[in-house]
Amino acid sequence: MPQISGSPNGRPRVGVYICHCGTNIAGIVDVRALSEHAATLPGVVVARDYKYMCSDPGQELIIRDIAEHDLHRVVVASCSPLLHEQTFRNAAAKGGLNPFQVQMVNIREHDSWVHADRQAATAKAKDLIRAAVRRVALHRPLERRRVPINPDALVVGGGIAGIHAALTLANAGKHVYLVEREPTIGGHMAQFDKTFPTLDCAACILTPKMTQVRAHPNITLWTYSEVAQVGGYVGNYEVTVRRKPRYIVEDLCVGCRECIEACVYKEGKTRDEFNLGLSKRKPIYMPFPQAVPQLVVIDPETCIEFKSGKCKKTCVEVCGDRKAIDFTQQERVETIHVGTIVLATGFKVFDAQRIPYYGYRTYPQVYTALEVERLVNAAGPTSGEVVLRDGRRPESVAIVHCVGSRDENTNRWCSRVCCMYSLKLAHLIKEKTDAEVYNFYIDIRTPGKGFEEFYNRVQEEGTHFIRGKVADIYPAGDDRGRLIVQAEDTLLGKVRKIPVDMVVLAVGLEPRPDTQDVRRLFNITCSTEGWFLERHPKLAPVNTFTDGVFLAGACQGPKDIPDSVAQAGAAAAEALALIDAGSVELEPYTAFVVEEDCSGCKTCIPLCPYNAIAFVAETKKAAINEVLCKGCGVCVAACPSGSITQNFFEDEAIFEEIKGVLAHA
């Protein structure tokens, strides 16, 4: 017990404040009995109950008492510390106390809200207050720490979210590293034809932003690159980036694509990823004409020079003096230092083969929505003609909604974008082919701006809507090679079997398969579904539980383009707020090794989830990096000799708290 001169028994003088929270607490707990009980506890010199402690007059009460009653400690029994700990810490600080000499007791969420028996709830509140009064006496004054923020930022992922976040940060004058795994930025949006509901051409609105990224003096763009390692802490991250060899000297390639023409392969033989295999590409290629950066890539898996070393190398020949092709290029590893990180790693579309009865890859007439995006796109493999694989133009098309969404057998979540892109594709297909289009839907969800109007428009255009989950797709057996789409129409209450030339599967959105690796890399968490988890679903939607790491776009959950862009802007703004603050205050709840006590047994070292503990060779003892430490307490509990102490959670205080709870009046 700290000895305090001028107070009875040298004990700290404690003030206890009990909040009614209107009737939230007072309705169940006898608040008057609480303050009377608190007044009898050792060290307590003043105990009050008040209608709303968090109100200005409530806080004033504390501030005034600190001066009038010479308080050393304050206990507030009210709601969850998540809500108002900061409020009462600040009030105590205004009164001249160290803010950490305040202890909150949660008699609302932990008591009045979960109990109905007035007597028992009051007794429980007394126990909790007694525990806090005993504990608070042992509180040491603590200081929050400040660490500087490196103004440079890293954006991971070059889809629309990453692009927007990078541009926002760069326009604010911050240096941004934009790292993209693929050879070009653009992401999924670059594959789309039009965007709903305005039917803007996706490329027309996206490519200017892509070139802005390339040209921006504040952006270092690394495509065909991946983050390999992340160390450090908020404001001071050290990131290792692996830059895969594209066998092209970036500074020398002008993007003329003559080498592609000249390649010894007359025709492409390799599946073109950008067109989802609807066309073929050569070993030397550019993903699409507007790719950024305007650089070709050589795929060593299919290039004859890499395979046999005996190619005529017509590409090198045509490149000539530019000398941009370099078969000896090696992977490079770069290390950068940034203060903030925006993750915009996007999503993957549902693999329709997981639902075998929809016949994807079995019947060539079955397409995924993303494939149809490429078909309707003027720059796509069919130059915008909606034609089947055999070249025929479909006269009837079924769009199957919720493929891999809202489905207990695959993914339970709604992918949010499929209804709208299905309506958009229905419109585009109808416009281009005049086919009969049937939408098989469970529910049509059009909650966005202009969405419902667009739905009405598509309905008016004569598109058919059948409310029923498609149960089967099978050949009609007719000479047109049509497929039967079978579903129970829940509005009519009977089974419908519609013969169509073409089926479009509206595939849902999924977390990327390497989500868990990425999560570990950046030390963030995932929801059970595998989406990156935001710190708070409502109030901190772009923050993560790791300070300085923010989320943008569909890596956090299914999102359409406007939402992705809005979130990217928010993530950039959060990063900017951190950067422009110049430094960040860290909570002092960290653990530290008492060097004199440590035996160097190394038990703690591998246990730290934040890699904050190192074994110091010179002293043969463990040391905790204060800035990396998040105060989780794992090492404190594990230290077999009790040589690690955690601020605010010292053993003595916890034992006093336990004794307080158990010491029934």
Binding site: G600, C601, P606, A637, P640, S641, G642, D651
Partner: protein
């Protein structure tokens, strides 16, 4: 506490006493070898039932505080031991808990997994070597042929010395090592007394002075706990790294890693450091953290290789732990 500086002419008086113990602590005093002569030269041993013929009434006749120090070993499990502890406390300026049993409850303290009734039943009726057809059990008072016989009462619960009387200092170990004893005696005679309640040994864990310290890897995990008789133990590598359950990380240093130097894992006799309330609990959390699995079933399989967890982790400290004893079921 009274002034402990003795007049130069009169040697300070000390006492040695044993309670529930094995006699090893008495041996430890004798084991001081030549150093015992320094001790004997410096003090006047006024009471030591094992070696000298003084009786309880001799102690009772002393003035309160007449003894500079009493070294009491053994745990308290009978009424007589409790009485002697109180008596020596009264007559001594300093009471020193000597050895693991007085310090923490020790091996006799493992009896707290049972109670008087079940212990008597085992010892006087059920054990294979017992022949007791009449089912005679120890009685505190009995009469045989007109002669009255009294025996000390036997408690349900074994206690450490400080759970019976206030203790000034502790000498840890099973038994305390000569070095620890000599240092303690010198400290007490010097008059510069350390803070009351101290354990007179370094307040760090054993790894600090372990000759194998450097061989423990930073990321140590094990999928198997072995017992010393099951393996050929390497003589230089960290025992935990060899899968042997070494209590060193959780146990107070001061013995200079005697057991480890003898190629045996530390069994924890020096008890925890001053910062730890529950030796076994801390040891358990350290041991659990090196189990190389995240699978519940696999973890259970690995930990099941520790055959007697309480006897291993709380071997010397059960009475002074947060657990203290097994819960007595309501009758």
């Amino acid at each position: 506490m009274a002034d402990t500086a003795a007049p130069a002419a009169v040697k300070p008086k000390v006492a040695f006493y044993w309670c529930a113990s094995c006699g090893g602590c008495e041996e430890a005093v004798v084991d001081l070898a030549e150093a015992i002569l320094d001790v004997v030269g410096a003090v006047d041993i006024a009471f030591w039932p094992v070696a000298l013929d003084f009786k309880r009434h001799d102690v009772e006749a002393m003035d309160d505080g007449a003894l500079l120090a009493s070294f009491v070993n053994g745990a308290i499990r009978t009424t007589e031991q409790a009485e002697m502890a109180l008596l020596l406390r009264q007559k001594s300026q300093l009471l020193i808990a000597f050895g693991a049993c007085a310090h923490l409850g020790g091996i006799p303290g493992l009896a707290n997994l049972w109670d008087r009734e079940s212990i008597f039943r085992q010892v006087y009726a059920e054990s294979p070597s017992t022949v007791n057809p009449e089912g005679t059990l120890p009685q505190t008072r009995s009469e045989e042929d007109g002669r009255r016989l009294t025996l000390p009462g036997f408690y349900d619960t074994v206690r450490s010395l400080d759970q019976v009387v206030p203790v000034d200092y502790y000498l840890p170990g099973c038994p305390p090592t000569p070095k620890i004893i000599v240092q303690a005696v010198q400290t007490l005679l010097s008059g510069a007394l350390p803070p009351q309640g101290m354990v007179l040994a370094p307040d760090r864990a054993l790894c600090d002075e372990c000759p194998r310290k450097d061989t423990r890897p930073e990321k140590l995990t094990t999928s198997e706990f072995k017992r010393p008789h099951q393996v050929l133990i390497d003589e230089t590598t960290c025992l935990l790294a060899q899968g042997l359950l070494c209590m060193g990380p959780a146990t107070r240093a001061g013995c200079e890693a005697l057991c480890v130097r003898g190629n045996m894992p530390c069994s924890g006799c020096f008890g925890p450091t001053s910062r730890v309330r529950d030796h076994g609990g801390k040891a358990l959390s350290a041991i659990a953290s090196i189990v190389a699995s995240n699978d519940t079933g696999e973890i259970e399989r690995i930990l099941a290789q520790v055959p007697d967890p309480i006897g291993t982790l709380y071997r010397y400290s059960l009475p002074s732990s947060l657990l203290r004893r097994r819960r007595r079921e309501a009758a």
